[in-house]
């Protein structure tokens, strides 16, 4: 059984300078209450690993607006001019990663693989400085695993053990990030008793989740 965690306590578990994975796709399926608490705490120097930074003032965009992000590993910042400005000015160190490579690098970090061998990015800027591995005469980029100090994820339902269920396009990076961090904090729209989420519906087993955020008031 998990003890419900208050948002401020969740924010305390993400120290300044931490490497943080944050679920969501343009804010859909992002842990908005934890993000708000991080902003309220005045978090600084975070390395954020996330698909995108949403829009200014929305989802992960709030952390960018608040100046909490020092480094960013992401696939798309096109809808957040603040992130783009930060990248161009050098205020934010941005590593752009193809989306399918990003999610596999996170998965590799989570399931204990040494890296990802992909053809995506071959012959493009993405190839620069990377090891090429040949398999059966075909060339692949070796992309390194990603691992975080903390993963902040969002689910539709959690039970008291931290078993998680997701809804529609709010799955995105959440189930993958839940495997790839030392500490996993899950925010859920609804918290239900053990057994309400049947075993076949669990997409993130509670064994992967360290903390469940207290219910929304």
């Amino acid at each position: 059984m998990k003890q419900a965690l208050k948002p401020a306590a969740a924010a305390e578990l993400v120290p300044d300078g931490a490497v943080v994975m944050i679920g969501g796709f343009m804010g859909v399926g992002s842990p908005h209450r934890i993000i708000d608490a991080l902003v309220a705490r005045g978090a600084r120097d975070l390395t954020v690993i996330a698909n995108d930074t949403a829009r200014p003032g929305h989802g992960i965009g709030k952390l960018v607006s608040a100046g909490a992000v020092k480094r960013l590993v992401t696939s798309h910042i096109g809808l957040n001019p603040e992130t783009q400005a930060g990248m161009i000015s050098g205020g934010i160190d941005v590593e752009l990663v193809p989306q399918g490579t990003l999610v596999e690098r996170i998965r590799a970090g989570g399931v204990g693989l040494g890296g990802v061998l992909t053809a995506t990015g071959l012959g493009t800027e993405v190839e620069d400085g990377k090891q090429i591995v040949e398999v059966r005469g075909k060339r692949f980029l070796l992309e390194e695993p990603l691992h975080a100090d903390v993963a902040l994820i969002c689910a539709q339902r959690a039970d008291y053990l931290g078993n998680l269920e997701y809804s529609l396009t709010a799955h995105n990076f959440n189930p993958i990030m839940a495997m790839a961090a030392d500490t996993v904090i899950a925010e859920a729209h609804v918290i239900v008793p053990l057994g309400v989420i049947p075993p076949d519906a669990v997409k993130t087993p509670g064994a992967l989740v360290d903390h469940v955020l207290e219910r929304a008031s």
Partner: protein
């Protein structure tokens, strides 16, 4: 019909019953409008759904169901929610029949550039590199020129999206098929002459003896 809708309508004719298709945001997303439901085509949105439907009735939008651009959508009966690892597994693994993407440049080798204008626009590649590397068929849907310059160029000056040769390019003037020996001009838009196409195109084109007009169905 305006240029974008003409392009979308022509692209729709490339799709076959039962295909799994990914439509990029912007112009490519218009293609769905021209695909009859009875064709049984399933649209994938890389943020996590197979069986994307049209806009939902007003007031019934689900914040957990959007397309890759963040707009509210519906899901058709038989839809499936997928996480980002499965979504890009389908794309990278060759399970996606067609991807329709916008473009900044296509060159005589059939290379596409569509994710970056150095120093001016750095949105990130999002899923584009995986889509172009992995989909069975890549269709570029874009206007023929931008700011008065041809987007069909001799050689891409912008950073490439992938080394893979795209399969079809549809503009408001023409349909082009990049092949081993160069860019084949296959169709002209209604009311557009060969000369108009040639003068609007920087790249050399391989022109057939008779140039059919686009069939728009």
């Amino acid at each position: 019909m305006d240029a974008k809708h003409l392009i979308a309508r022509r692209v729709a004719r490339e799709l076959e019953p039962g295909m799994l298709v990914n439509l990029g945001i912007g112009l490519p997303s218009l293609v769905a409008t021209y695909v009859p439901a009875e064709m049984g085509i399933y649209f994938q949105a890389e943020n996590g759904v197979i069986g994307l439907g049209a806009r939902p009735p007003e007031g019934m939008e689900d914040p957990d169901l959007t397309d890759a651009g963040g707009g509210f959508v519906t899901a058709v009966p038989g839809a499936a929610s997928i996480d980002s690892a499965m979504s890009f597994g389908l794309i990278r693994g060759g399970h996606l029949d067609v991807t329709v993407l916008g473009g900044l440049q296509v060159d005589m080798k059939g290379h596409l550039a569509n994710w970056k204008v150095p120093g001016r626009m750095v949105p990130g590649m999002g899923g584009a590199m995986d889509l172009v590397s992995g989909a069975r068929q890549v269709i570029v849907a874009m206007q023929h020129a931008a700011r008065g310059s041809s987007k069909i160029v001799r050689e891409c000056t912008l950073p490439l999206t992938a080394m893979r040769r795209v399969d079809v390019v549809v503009t408001e003037l023409a349909v082009l098929h990049p092949r081993e020996d160069g860019l084949h001009l296959s169709e002209r838009a209604p009311g557009v002459s060969l000369d108009q196409i040639l003068s609007a195109t920087e790249a050399d084109l391989i022109v057939p003896e008779t140039l059919p007009e686009m069939a728009l169905g």
